[in-house]
């Protein structure tokens, strides 16, 4: 009895320590990544980040039951969230830093949608940017209706992405593996071509999107709180993007830790076995594909408002490849890997301006190199725990 209470005390202390340490580490890291101007230091930081994750991952796999590891893993979501909130507050007046944070959070959300489709159900979607674009264009068209509240516009962005995705389902369900992916590639290419030749949606010139306004706050202007404190107009976007990313992350976590997540794994891993135990393969692929596209579409609608201008090249096949690169780089099926992959892929080109022209080359080299060393990505998937760390 007393031993267990003492263990409980020790566990709580380790957890509290881990929470504080991880929060500070993430905050300091994020701050440095966003503000340091010397590109060599940025490279050093990114390399440290990747190496740190690999080491942490190794420690977690080797000693999953040590008190410190359990404390660190169970408090990690709270720590990362706190660090991001702190970053948003610290950079409340810094347009550039906030824009980067917004972009990063939106890409995290999109990648979580793809993660649900590919990491769980095994449906590799090479048209991620197209569904993202459907969300953007929905926002462009629907924000013209002044009476429609913008949260509704965002939800509708997701709904349209999911609905248009339905059209892809018959060929996706009839084919397996790589062949289903080829169908999504075709759709992605069709989508940009359609936008370019169709004048209703601005053609190749693109479209203007009205800025987000929420509950009377117009997010196209800075907000003066008091004479000394002015919030950047990106501040509101950062808050909404964070809510969106947190919501998607929580949803994906709950799905993994449920019978639904298990069923999706079963579908991905062995279709014959799954059919022999009553699993309706089509139903679960539809579920993952539509829910994933919904998440991607909602994020797209917010992105459109954030950018205020969108054009077909934003949603090309190569943009889709970047999104797929996020989940492969991070570790297929690992939610934390998504966060990591998005950080690398969004921040590298933004922070390393000199290599911008070479960024596709760099990504290709990065992914090939990484898959040679770590075939399962930076943070490979871990065993399912239905109720988080420490539960059996």
């Amino acid at each position: 009895m007393s031993v267990t209470t003492r263990n409980g005390m020790r566990d709580r202390m380790f957890a509290a320590f881990a929470l504080v340490a991880t929060t500070l580490l993430c905050f300091a890291f994020g701050r440095a990544l966003l503000t340091v101007n010397d590109e060599r230091i940025v490279v050093a930081l990114l390399v440290t980040l990747a190496a740190g994750i690999v080491l942490a991952e190794r420690r977690v796999t080797r000693a999953p039951d040590s008190a410190l590891v359990r404390g660190a893993v169970s408090t990690a979501p709270a720590a990362v969230l706190l660090a991001i909130v702190a970053l948003i507050l610290v950079f409340h007046a810094n347009h550039f830093a906030l824009l980067l944070i917004c972009t990063l959070l939106i890409y995290v959300t999109v990648a979580l949608g793809l993660h649900l489709q590919f990491g769980y159900a095994g449906v590799l979607n090479f048209a991620g940017a197209a569904f993202f674009g459907i969300g953007c264009y929905t926002a462009a068209v629907l924000t013209q209706l002044a009476w429609l509240p913008h949260p509704v516009v965002m939800v509708l962005g997701g709904v349209f992405a999911a609905l248009i995705g339905l059209a892809l389902l018959p060929p996706v369900l009839r084919t397996r593996g790589h062949y289903a992916s080829v169908v999504t590639i075709a759709f992605g290419v069709l989508f940009t071509t359609f936008l370019e030749i169709n004048e209703t949606f601005g053609g190749a010139q693109g479209m203007h999107v009205a800025g987000l306004s929420l509950f009377g706050f117009d997010m196209t202007r800075n907000i003066r709180l008091s004479p000394g404190v002015t919030l950047s107009f990106y501040f509101g976007y950062a808050v909404v993007a964070l809510l969106l990313a947190v919501g998607a992350f929580a949803l994906v976590t709950r799905i993994e830790r449920s019978w639904i997540g298990l069923t999706l794994d079963a579908v991905r891993l062995d279709e014959t076995r799954s059919a022999c135990f009553g699993i309706d393969l089509a139903r679960w692929k539809i579920f993952a594909f539509c829910l994933g596209n919904f998440i991607i579409g909602v994020a797209g609608a917010l992105f459109g408002m954030l950018m205020s201008f969108i054009a077909p090249p934003n949603f090309s096949f190569s943009a889709s490849l970047m999104l797929v690169a996020i989940i492969i780089l991070g570790g297929i099926g690992n939610r934390w890997g998504v966060l990591l992959g998005a950080t690398l892929i969004v921040l590298v080109p933004e922070r390393l301006q000199t290599i911008q022209e070479y960024r596709v080359l760099l990504f290709a080299a990065l992914i090939v190199g990484l898959l040679l060393i770590r075939p399962n990505g930076l943070a490979p998937r871990r065993m399912r725990r239905y109720f988080g760390e420490g539960s059996a």
């Binding site: 709950r254 019978w259 639904i260 062995d270 135990f277 309706d280 399912r384 059996a392």
Partner: protein, 265 residues
């Protein structure tokens, strides 16, 4: 208690792959609580029969009846729900999943897959999870206390005999009426096979109504566990009866030894 009608009946089941008649007009039945041994040389159609009965293949002719109800040609999912489960000759386990996860795939029809129940009502989900955990643990314990204890470890860590046990438990956890075992002793030593057969006989003691069809190459195993045998050759049933009757049947000996008048006794 005494129900004359058989639990499962194959009436002239046939399956053809191009020019190969894999199953030709196969008829036999399985009674409740019976263990039926299915034997025959390689390529004689035993596994094809399992694949037809479980809905992986559609039969080209004939009928498969479970409790008098036609299940031939139904989807695999529907046949599972009707109460037929199986194991595979080459284990179909996802080795990166835990034993518990794999068993829950077998329990699919008993899981509540509603979005609310899984995502929002976590307290109710925990209760469901705990119930399933105990069910899985007690089922595994029949086969091995160690498996029950290490239920949340990945299957990759376990040897072949344990994987066979996991496959059998996955097939049993939904409380089927007909269990099809496809060569459970493949790739195991004699001792391991004996242990596994003990376990199978033990589960039957707890489930007197459960009917089992077992494909097996090792004759001593069949002799020990089966109540009755059916022998296949070239997709046809060539003999049926007790092990003793079947083993002394000249046609069976010919199928196995390949000689026309060999081993005359």
């Amino acid at each position: 208690m005494t129900n004359e009608a058989p639990l499962f009946e194959s009436r002239g089941l046939s399956k053809r792959f191009g020019g190969l008649q894999a199953l030709a007009d196969v008829s036999f039945s399985v009674r409740r609580g019976e263990i039926l041994g299915l034997i025959g040389p390689n390529g004689s159609g035993k596994t094809t029969l399992f694949n037809v009965v479980t809905g992986i293949y559609r039969p080209d002719g004939g009928a498969a009846l479970l409790d008098g109800r036609e299940i031939g040609g139904l989807r695999a999912q529907a046949i599972y729900r009707a109460g037929v489960t199986r194991t595979f000759q080459r284990c179909r386990l996802s080795t990166e999943l835990s034993i518990f996860d794999e068993l829950m795939i077998g329990a699919h029809k008993d899981l509540d897959l509603g979005f609310m129940a899984n995502i929002l009502h976590r307290k109710a989900f925990r209760a469901a999870f705990e119930e399933k955990r105990e069910q899985a643990r007690s089922l595994l314990a029949i086969f091995s206390a160690e498996l029950a204890q290490r239920m949340f470890e990945p299957i990759a860590r376990f040897p072949m005999i344990d994987r066979r046990r996991i496959e059998i438990c996955r097939a049993l956890i939904s409380r089927p009426r007909l269990l099809l075992l496809d060569e459970p002793s493949a790739g195991m030593t004699h001792d391991e096979t004996r242990q596994l057969m003990d376990d199978i006989l033990e589960t039957r003691r707890g489930n007197p109504e459960l009917a089992v069809v077992i494909i097996e190459h090792e004759m001593p195993v069949i002799e020990r566990v089966s109540d009755r045998c059916v022998v296949f050759n070239y997709g046809r049933k060539i003999a049926e009866g007790s092990y003793r009757e079947v083993a002394s049947d000249p046609q069976v000996q010919e199928a196995y030894l390949g000689t026309r008048h060999g081993a005359a006794a």
